[in-house]
């Protein structure tokens, strides 16, 4: 029985990485599932669900040469889970402010305590070296309702001197 593996690749970004890696996987008989590629601090990063023909060893042997030729670190994990396991988020939290240590830990700590299950998090440091600003967007499920999150967020935003906004995600099924 074929199962899924999580392939992680990290390295200096340059054009053609996705095409090169996925060509090797395709030619090696792999199926691809969900994937998320991002450029973080000029680095190429991707996490990719791969269902190979063979086992972990043969997948690693397939990927290692192409990863090396592109200067990428490569990591493969056997994973539980499958496709079609999507969970719909019902809230979005946007946080911004002057960048300083501790924003993510305090904000997500307060939100976790108020029942938030994070499904998606993206953050960025913008502004300049002298005046960096931190912007974070979170989507998740409010397991104890949006009001609990709202009051937790208000308290932590005030304590941290940052701006935080919670909005509902009402997915329309038509």
């Amino acid at each position: 029985m074929h199962k899924w593996y999580m392939l992680t690749l990290v390295g200096q970004d340059r054009p053609g990485i996705v095409a090169g890696v996925t060509a090797a996987l395709y030619e090696g008989g792999c199926h691809l599932g969900e994937a998320s590629m991002m450029r973080l601090g000029a680095n190429f990063t991707i996490m990719l669900m791969v269902r190979p023909d063979g086992d972990l060893r043969s997948l690693t042997q397939l990927v290692a040469p192409v990863a090396e030729s592109m200067g990428l670190h490569c990591h493969v994990d056997a994973i539980e889970g499958d496709l079609h396991q999507h969970v719909l988020p019902d809230v979005r939290v946007t946080v911004c402010g002057a960048d300083r240590p501790g924003i993510v830990a305090t904000v997500t700590g307060a939100l976790a305590e108020a029942g938030l299950n994070i499904l998606d998090l993206e953050s960025d440091v913008a502004g300049t070296d002298q005046k960096p600003i931190y912007i974070m967007q979170i989507e998740g499920v409010a397991r104890e309702g949006a009001e609990a999150l709202e009051s937790a967020l208000r308290i932590v935003a005030q304590a941290q001197g940052i701006e935080a906004k919670l909005s509902a995600i009402d997915t329309l099924i038509g």
């Binding site: 079609h84 946007t94 911004c96 967007q137 009402d170 997915t171 329309l172 099924i173 038509g174």
Partner: protein, 172 residues
């Protein structure tokens, strides 16, 4: 009355252009009943368009009254030969579709619309609507023109639209 089979992507028929309804008769009533049954059979489905069940007529049903946190709406709407005659504002919202199972994505829609459509008896009606209901109507009218929400996807990320930074030209 019957729950009809929903056509799902990549069925080519979802790309077909639907024709206007010209006769308001018992057959139309039957189609409307089946469509409503089929909409109700879907989990939390706020709208349905006739081409989703392989009937290529310009018929849409929208009812957002059961959706949470939707305060302004017109209840159960049968919209035949609908036309958006005015729109204002743009908003990003997340959509899914019976015809595209297991996927949701962000789509930009007009925030407020003025809509003209015939009702089930063929009488032309005019509606002013906004927000969630306006989004649902736009989603369904797209089906009549052979379009799905996945034809209109925008980035899942970067809701805060970044301003483009232009390099300043140094003064001579």
């Amino acid at each position: 009355m019957a729950v009809l089979e929903i056509l799902t992507y990549p069925d080519e028929r979802l790309k077909r252009l639907s024709r206007p309804v010209e006769v308001f008769d018992e057959a139309l009533d039957g189609t409307l009943c089946d469509l409503e049954q089929t909409r109700r059979a879907g989990p939390g489905t706020v709208g349905i368009a006739a081409p989703q069940v392989g009937c290529f007529q310009r018929i849409v049903i929208v009812d957002v009254s059961g959706a949470r946190k939707v305060s302004r709406h017109h209840g159960h709407l049968v919209l035949i030969n609908p036309e958006i005659i005015h729109w204002e504002g743009l908003a990003v919202g997340r959509e899914g579709c019976l015809s595209v199972p297991d996927y949701t994505g962000n789509v930009v829609r007009a925030e407020r619309i003025t809509l003209e459509a015939a009702d089930a008896r063929g009488l032309r009606q005019r509606y002013e609507m906004d927000g969630y209901e306006a989004r649902a109507v736009q989603h369904e009218i797209d089906h009549l023109d052979g379009l799905l929400f996945i034809d209109r996807l925008v980035s899942r990320r970067n809701d805060l639209f970044r301003r483009k930074v232009y390099q300043q030209v140094p003064e001579q």
